[in-house]
Symmetry: C2
Subunit: 436 residues, 2 copies
């Protein structure tokens, strides 16, 4: 097992997160509980700042709102001066509520609604990652009505396939995202923007996938993009002034995963971009990256209480916990693999293999298959699942009418609630009694 | 295309649900919108009542809370006198809030928490579908403390595999649910209950899967169960007085699906059970069924507004709608297949094949692949997806911080809100600001 964050450690027989004993957190806040190491988050944001933003001119890393979105995370992002990407007006509204600088928000999405475009522009968001022709028309019209300018980077499909799972492979040809680079389609889009009144063409956006471990995929996407940059110069005489190199940097969920080094990815990307621009004698462009789950993925540890343990002779042992696919749907949805440990017996040797099952009324509600655990695992133990910081809270549901867990941050030996646990009353907060 | 409910129809160029024009609903309530045909729901509940509950002695059909849970549905179930199954204290709390009779609630689940068991018993729920040994201990203890009796049916694994998808196949050996019938395991459980002070043994529960289209699977499960009934009589001298035959009756999501006739399933089940009891000269037992999504599945139609349409030459055409995996995760999760139609162009011939994509920032966010639609589909059209009544609202999330859609009931030409749409404010309703 790998702890997957240096902010967690095993001392004696106990798991500690930011120097707080995990079982104390379970006692204090109840389970299931999303614990997020603020220590880890700050460390990662600082990496983005020091190893990318401060290191290069006009460089901006964007935190992926969809990986983990709540008031507290935007306040941290704001503190480090990094940017964010948002994929809906909902995400934007939360970021703004947290006091986030609208000029550092990049608005993404394959189907931005007219109402969302209006919301964004009227709230000062003027960086759009433009995805399609319909959006160009809508933004041109709405920006005009609001008398604002929108700065556009175009999402262009690099035609490169990378990433761990079909669902999160977005760079190949058959995708709902972006403009095709074939048949001159993206050039038509640029032409339309160049001829528009309210949209300013700035550059290109590339996204090749999520949970990517292949350095060459990043390099070759950027090499392809430098070809696009040349094409644009040849056709329009415009030097692309902003390159959003995307991201989807893979993190370790278990010991099989071998993440790339952050600085290696970014320096290779910068080498391709700056090398090309220097060669052409152009001013270097602004470069953005979107490291995705890199900031929060390994920061999260979900704590559960162990309940039923069912040994099916010759088949398998199911250990049921008090949460499940309602708080972590990634195993069911992507066959994601999670690692975990009995937090209050963390020092013991793991001699038993079990399957960690959720409490939802559904066979697919499994959190981790065939996981080694201590043989004396029993009801009442606290089970910690690692690397649940991204796409757990944001994808959570009330399936089976399970209240959503609280989110607790830990930092330097202390803890605080950032999202409170739902109650049964909350489950019907939106039910209304109307008559026909 | 099949409309999948007789309460929807196409008149002229428009889709109507319970005699209400779908595009009028979209205009009135906005999109995405969960429309539930109360006409359909009442029809199905009435079938349960007339063709099962009233037809047989001691027969009780149970509505599956997890398929669709809100105050309004429990009120309808109460009106028809049918029972419900609940899989959590959260579901129970909502049913009770709606005024549902606690004596007609059956409490299910592979990992009922001590707090849930206490909640259930202290609120008058005394029918438990007991799943495991740990639960027997907990119920015995908690019922004792509360000075109440609990009536137990035991979930026994029939060892029969049926149903459309791995995730929803629950009757085979490798399952987190129930007691194995091998190695005499379930008999040990009965022995423990018989010797308990606060749990009354009533009978057995079988569940072979969900979305089942195979009549023989039901018959052979019941035949197997009659073997268990004999075993129990031989060992304990007890005649099983309650048989919960489970359910998971398949419904049609598209024209490939061929659902069994409700009365055929139940009469075949009753034939096996009553035949066996008559032969043995025993009083016939109470029989319960759990028809699952049968009540609400086809009642639901989700209305979306069409946005971006992206034609990728030689690949496919993506039609993006204003919802997605946040309101319907079943396509991404189970490869579920949905049918749909442009509600405001419902009379037109379908000459174009498209993929209906959601607006979530994720390639897997697809609602329906390769669906025939009218060639003049365009932004602003209302797209209706059929048979979204089960496991859509209850599995919905705020992924991408998309507010959850409203749920609207339609009935005899009228409509009413039963769950209101979420606002951006609701997205941070549980965020708190604490200091360390």
């Amino acid at each position: 097992m790998v702890l997957q964050t240096s902010f967690a450690e095993i001392r004696g027989n106990d798991l500690y997160i930011d120097n707080v004993k995990a079982s104390d957190l379970a006692k204090k806040y109840g389970t299931p509980l999303y614990v997020m190491s603020e220590g880890h988050i700050r460390h990662q944001m600082n990496e983005l700042k020091e190893k990318f933003m401060d290191k290069y001119d006009k460089a901006l890393p964007l935190f992926a709102s969809k990986s983990f979105s709540c008031l507290a995370i935007y306040k941290l992002a704001q503190e480090y001066g990094i940017g964010i990407d948002c994929v809906s007006a909902g995400e934007i509204s939360i970021a703004l509520k947290a006091g986030f600088d609208p000029k550092k928000i990049y608005f993404h999405g394959n189907n931005k609604l007219p109402s969302e475009i209006e919301y964004a522009i009227s709230h000062g968001i003027n960086h759009f990652v433009i995805d399609n022709f319909n959006e160009i028309d809508l933004v041109e019209k709405i920006a005009g009505e609001l008398n604002e300018k929108v700065y556009a980077t175009l999402r262009v499909v690099p035609g490169i396939k990378a990433g761990g799972h079909n669902f999160i492979q977005t760079g190949h040809k058959d995708t709902k995202f972006g403009f095709s680079s074939h048949f001159g389609i993206y050039l038509k889009a640029i032409e339309q923007i160049v001829n528009s009144e309210n949209i300013v063409f700035e550059g290109l956006h590339a996204h090749i996938g999520s949970q990517v471990f292949d350095l060459y995929a990043y390099i070759s996407a950027m090499q392809k993009f430098m070809g696009f940059v040349d094409e644009i110069y040849d056709k329009f005489g415009i030097v692309v002034s902003k390159v959003n190199a995307g991201g989807g940097y893979g993190i370790a969920y278990n010991k099989k995963d071998e993440p790339l080094d952050f600085e290696t990815i970014t320096s290779e990307i910068m080498k391709v971009i700056n090398g090309h621009y220097d060669e052409r004698g152009w001013d270097r462009p602004a470069v953005l990256i979107e490291p995705g789950r890199y900031v929060v993925g390994n920061a999260g540890i979900t704590l559960y209480t162990v309940g039923t343990i069912k040994e099916i002779p010759d088949v398998r042992t199911y250990v049921s916990i008090d949460g499940g696919m309602s708080d972590n749907i990634r195993t069911a949805l992507y066959d994601a693999e999670y690692d975990g440990i009995v937090a209050n017996k963390a020092g013991e040797t793991k001699t038993k293999t079990v399957t960690i099952a959720g409490k939802c009324c559904e066979s697919g509600d499994i959190i981790a298959k065939d996981l080694p655990v201590t043989a004396n695992i029993e009801a009442g133990d606290i089970f910690a699942v690692f690397s649940t910081g991204a796409y757990n809270y944001t994808m959570s549901s009330n399936y089976n009418q399970l209240p959503k867990p609280a989110v607790v941050f830990t930092y330097e030996g202390k803890s605080k609630t950032v999202v409170r646990r739902q109650t049964f009353e909350d489950l019907i907060a939106y039910d209304v009694e109307e008559n026909y």
